[in-house]
C-alpha cells in the first residue's frame, strides 16, 4: 500500500519538479516567469507530436526542450532586452500557450504512442518500501533526479552559475565585474523554460501517453508557488514537488476506494495544500532571512540614475 502510494507520489510529482526547477533557474536570474503553465502545455504538445511522427521518445523530449526554449525566448526578449513588465509578459505567455496548443493539438487528440516504460535499476530497486518508488521508474524520472543535482552544482560550483545568481541578486554588481547581465538573464530564461517544457512532455509521454487539451491542469501555477516554498533551492523543490505529488496520489487513492466525499473536493486538495504551504512558507520567510533574489522582478538599466 505504502509502496504504491510512494510510487504514485513520484510519478505525480515529477512534471511539477521539472517545471519548478525551470522556474527556479528563471527567478535566480531575477526574471519572474508566470508563463510556466503555458510552457508546460507547449512542451507537452511538442513532445507528443515529435514522438508521434518520429517514433522516438528521445526526439520527443529534445523537441519539447527546444520548442519551449524558443517560446521562452519571447519572454526573455520582452523582459530582458526590452525591459518590459515581467508579470504581463508571463501571463501573456500562459494564455498564448493555452491557445496555441488547443489550436495545433486538434489533430493530435485521440492519437496514441508508446510512452516511457519503467526501467528497474538492479540492486537499488530491491530496497524495501522506497526501492520501487524511486528506482523502478522511467528514464525521465531518473533524469529529474540528476537535474536536481545538476542545478545545484551549476549554481554553487560553476562560474556561470555564480553569474546567474549575481545578475539576479544585484545586476549592477555583476555588470561592473564584467558579466553581461542581458546575456545571463536571457539564457537563464530560455534554458529554464526548456526544462519546464520537459515537465510538460512528461505528462504527454509518460503519465498518460496521449495529448489532451489543457492537460497541465494548473500544474504550472503550482510550480510558480513551489519556487517560493522551495526558497529558490533545487533540493527543496524536490521536496515540494513530491509533497504535492503525494497529496495528488492520496486523493486518487481515496477516489479509487470509493469514499463518500465528493470527487471535486478531493481533486481540490492538492491546490488547497499549495495555498496552505505558501502561506506558511511566506510567513516564515518574513521572519527569517529572505532567500528571494534581491533583483527579482526588476529590469536592469545601466544608465538608470537612482
Amino acid at each position: 500500500m505504502l509502496e504504491i502510494l510512494l510510487d504514485a507520489t513520484v510519478r505525480a510529482g515529477t512534471p511539477i519538479l521539472f517545471a519548478t526547477l525551470g522556474a527556479i533557474i528563471n527567478e535566480r536570474a531575477g526574471i519572474i516567469n508566470l508563463g510556466i503553465e503555458g510552457l508546460m502545455l507547449i512542451g507537452a504538445l511538442a513532445g507528443f507530436s515529435a514522438t508521434y511522427f518520429s517514433g522516438s521518445l528521445l526526439v520527443g523530449v529534445v523537441a519539447a526542450f527546444c520548442v519551449t526554449f524558443i517560446a521562452g525566448s519571447f519572454h526573455a526578449l520582452i523582459t530582458v532586452q526590452l525591459r518590459g513588465n515581467q508579470i504581463v509578459s508571463g501571463l501573456a505567455l500562459t494564455m498564448f500557450g493555452v491557445g496555441v496548443t488547443a489550436l495545433f493539438g486538434k489533430g493530435m487528440v485521440g492519437l496514441t504512442i508508446v510512452g516511457f516504460e519503467r526501467v528497474a535499476i538492479p540492486g537499488l530497486s530491491q530496497i524495501p518500501i522506497i526501492g520501487k518508488a524511486f528506482f523502478n521508474q522511467d528514464m525521465l524520472i531518473y533524469f529529474s533526479f540528476l537535474l536536481v543535482f545538476l542545478v545545484w552544482f551549476f549554481f554553487y560550483r560553476t562560474r556561470w552559475g555564480l553569474g546567474v545568481r549575481s545578475v539576479g541578486e544585484n545586476p549592477a554588481a555583476a555588470d561592473t565585474c564584467g558579466f553581461s547581465v542581458s546575456l545571463y538573464r536571457f539564457f537563464a530564461v530560455t534554458v529554464g523554460s526548456g526544462f519546464v517544457g520537459i515537465g510538460g512532455a512528461y505528462l504527454s509521454l509518460a503519465s498518460t501517453p496521449m495529448w489532451i487539451e489543457n492537460m497541465s491542469a494548473g500544474r504550472g501555477w503550482i510550480a510558480v508557488a513551489l519556487v517560493i516554498f522551495a526558497g529558490w533551492s533545487s533540493q527543496r523543490a524536490m521536496l515540494g514537488a513530491y509533497l504535492f505529488g503525494g497529496i495528488t496520489a492520496m486523493q486518487l487513492r481515496f477516489q479509487a476506494m470509493g469514499t463518500t466525499i465528493s470527487a471535486h473536493i478531493l481533486q481540490m486538495l492538492p491546490y488547497f495544500f499549495t495555498i496552505l504551504v505558501l502561506v506558511i512558507s511566506t510567513h516564515r520567510l518574513q521572519k527569517g532571512a529572505s532567500q528571494q533574489p534581491e533583483g527579482l522582478g526588476l529590469p536592469y538599466d545601466r544608465e538608470d540614475r537612482k
Binding site: T158, G163, S166, S290, R305
Partner: protein, 505 residues
C-alpha cells in the same frame, strides 16, 4: 611621469540635466589624483563614464595614448580600470569568496574552490585584514565591505583605481589605514583617482587635484601649489553661503528620554541594542557614528517607521513607546529623511501638493471633501517665497527639482507646524555647499525658537560645528556624550570604533 589616462572634453547629459558639461583631465602613472568638487558637480558621473557604465555624449578617453571607446564595464576592466563605487557593487546574500570570485578574470567555468580560496586569502593576509571568506557580505560592517571592493580590484590587477568617497563610511583611524594602503599602492606604480569633498583628506594624500564645478573641470593644481583655502575658493567660487549664528541656550528640561531601546531588523539582528539617549529642550544633539551602526533605526523608531522590540521612549513624563500614544506624538515630530526622493516626497506630484502632505486633513486646505486649490496655492507661494525654493513653472513634478530645492520643500513642509522635535538624518547629504549652509541655518534658527534637533550626520566637521552635544553610537549602543567645544576628532574616532572614553562628558 607618463600619463596613463587622458580625458578630453567629456559631456554627458541625462533627460533634463547636464551632468557633465566639459571635463578634461589626465592621470599620470603612480600618482594619487584627487577629484574635488561639491555634491552635484559631476564627480560620480564622470567616474561612471570612465568605468563604462555611462556612454558620454561626446569627448575622448585615451589610455596610454590610445583612444578608447567603452561600450561596457567589461571594456573598462580590460584596460585595467577598476572602481570602488560609493554604493558598493556587492551581492549582499553571497559570501565574501563568491563576491571576490565574481570579479576575477579568466576563472574557468569549473573552477577549483581551493585554489581560488588560497589566492584570495593570500591577498587578505597581505593587507592584514580580518575577513572570513565564507561569511555572507550582509553580515559585515560597511568598512569591511569596502575592503572587499578594494580586494576585488587588486585581485584583478587594475592599474588605475578609482575610489568614490571611500572615507564616508570609515572612522578617522580607518581612513588613515586606507591612506597608508593607497600610498603603498602608489609605490607599486598604480594610479589612483580619489574622490572626496573633505578638505583635510585631500590635503593629506593628493599629488594633484582637479576641481570640478557644475560639470566642468575648472583647474588642476600640483602638490605645493594648493592649500585648503585655494581649493575651497576654487570649488565654491562666488556662491553665497547663508550665514548663521548659534546662541547657546540649552535648558535642562528633557523632551525625549530613550531608555534601553532595542530594535531588530528584518534579518533578526539588533539595530539598536539597549540604546539610551536623552534629548534636551532647545538643543542640537549630534549623533556621530560610522554608517550602519543603528542611526537609521533610531530615526525610524522616532518617526514611527519602525516598531520597538524592547525599552521605553518617554516624552516629558509620558510613556510614548506604545503605538497609539506614540503615533499622535510622532505626528508632531518633524522628520528630514535620509533618502529624500523615496521617503521624503511624492516625486511625481507638484510642489504645491507636496507642501501640504502633512496638513492636508486640516480644514484650511479643503472645502468639505474637495481640495481648496486656492488655499493650497497660496500656501505654496508663501513657502516658496519664505524658503527661496526654485520651483520651476506651476505644477512641475517635484522630481525635476535639484536636490537642494527638494530638501527645501521637505524642510518647509516639516517645519510648517513649528514642531518641538526635529529628527534629521543626513540632511545635507548630496547637497551643494550653499544648500547645506541653508539647512544648517534652518536647524540653528529652530534651536533658537526652542526646537530640539537630533542631527544624524556622517561629516564630523558638520557635527562639531552645529551640535550642542554629540552622542556617539557603535553597534546600536550609546558609547557616550562629548562636548563639541572640548573634544577632538581623535577622541570621537576612537569612540566610533567602540572604545569608551575615560572621562565622558
Amino acid at each position: 611621469m607618463s600619463d596613463i589616462l587622458h580625458i578630453e572634453n567629456i559631456r554627458k547629459t541625462f533627460p533634463g540635466v547636464i551632468a557633465l558639461d566639459d571635463v578634461s583631465f589626465s592621470v599620470a602613472q603612480g600618482e594619487i589624483h584627487t577629484l574635488l568638487g561639491e555634491n552635484g558637480a559631476g564627480k560620480s558621473t564622470l567616474m561612471n563614464v570612465l568605468t563604462g557604465l555611462y556612454h558620454p555624449d561626446r569627448g575622448h578617453i585615451r589610455i596610454a595614448g590610445e583612444q578608447i571607446h567603452f561600450t561596457s564595464p567589461r571594456d573598462s576592466l580590460a584596460c585595467g580600470i577598476g572602481m570602488v563605487h560609493q554604493h558598493f557593487m556587492l551581492v549582499p546574500a553571497h559570501s565574501v569568496f563568491e563576491n571576490i570570485l565574481l570579479a576575477l578574470d579568466k576563472v574557468p567555468n569549473f573552477y577549483s574552490r581551493k585554489t581560488y580560496q588560497a589566492k584570495i586569502q593570500k591577498l587578505i593576509d597581505e593587507f592584514d585584514l580580518d575577513l572570513d571568506l565564507d561569511t555572507p557580505v550582509w553580515k559585515l560592517s560597511i568598512g569591511a565591505q569596502q575592503w572587499i571592493e578594494l580586494i576585488k580590484l587588486l585581485m584583478r590587477d587594475c592599474q588605475l583605481l578609482i575610489l568614490d568617497e571611500p572615507t564616508a563610511v570609515l572612522t578617522p583611524q580607518e581612513s588613515e589605514r586606507l591612506f597608508n594602503v593607497l600610498r603603498k599602492l602608489r609605490k607599486q606604480g598604480k594610479s589612483i583617482i580619489f574622490i572626496s569633498h573633505k578638505m583635510r583628506e585631500v590635503m593629506e594624500v593628493s599629488d594633484r587635484v582637479t576641481i570640478l564645478k557644475k560639470g566642468r573641470s575648472i583647474a588642476t593644481r600640483t602638490r605645493g601649489d594648493f592649500d585648503e583655502s585655494i581649493l575651497a575658493s576654487l570649488m565654491i567660487g562666488k556662491d553665497k553661503i547663508p550665514q548663521w549664528q548659534k546662541t547657546l541656550q540649552m535648558s535642562d528640561e528633557i523632551v525625549l528620554d530613550i531608555q534601553k531601546l532595542s530594535v531588530r531588523n528584518d534579518r533578526g539582528l539588533s539595530d539598536l541594542d539597549a540604546f539610551n539617549l536623552q534629548l534636551k529642550k532647545g538643543e542640537i544633539l549630534g549623533i556621530a557614528g560610522v554608517a550602519g551602526n543603528g542611526q537609521k533605526a533610531l530615526a525610524e523608531v522616532l518617526t514611527g517607521l519602525k516598531n520597538t522590540n524592547q525599552g521605553r521612549i518617554l516624552a516629558g513624563q509620558k510613556d510614548i513607546t506604545n503605538s497609539n500614544a506614540r503615533y499622535s506624538y510622532i505626528a508632531g515630530i518633524a522628520h528630514i529623511p535620509e533618502d529624500r526622493k523615496t521617503i521624503g516626497i511624492a516625486p511625481d506630484m507638484s510642489v504645491d501638493e507636496n507642501l501640504i502632505m502633512k496638513s492636508f486633513k486640516s480644514g484650511s486646505f479643503r472645502n468639505w471633501i474637495f481640495q481648496n486649490k486656492r488655499a493650497i496655492r497660496r500656501n505654496a507661494e508663501e513657502k516658496i517665497e519664505q524658503f527661496a525654493i526654485k520651483s520651476g513653472p506651476d505644477g512641475t513634478p517635484l522630481r525635476y527639482l535639484s536636490g537642494g530645492n527638494i530638501q527645501k520643500v521637505i524642510i518647509a513642509r516639516e517645519l510648517s507646524e513649528h514642531p518641538a522635535v526635529l529628527v534629521a538624518l543626513y540632511p545635507t547629504r548630496g547637497l551643494d555647499i550653499g544648500s547645506a549652509g541653508y539647512v544648517h541655518k534652518v536647524i540653528a534658527d529652530g534651536a533658537d525658537r526652542g526646537m530640539s534637533t537630533i542631527l544624524i550626520a556622517e561629516d564630523l566637521d558638520e557635527l562639531l560645528k552645529l551640535s550642542d552635544r554629540i552622542a556617539v553610537m557603535f553597534r546600536g549602543q550609546l558609547v557616550g556624550y562629548v562636548d563639541p567645544r572640548k573634544t577632538t576628532r581623535e577622541e570621537i574616532g576612537l569612540m566610533m570604533s567602540g572604545e569608551t572614553p575615560g572621562d565622558s562628558a
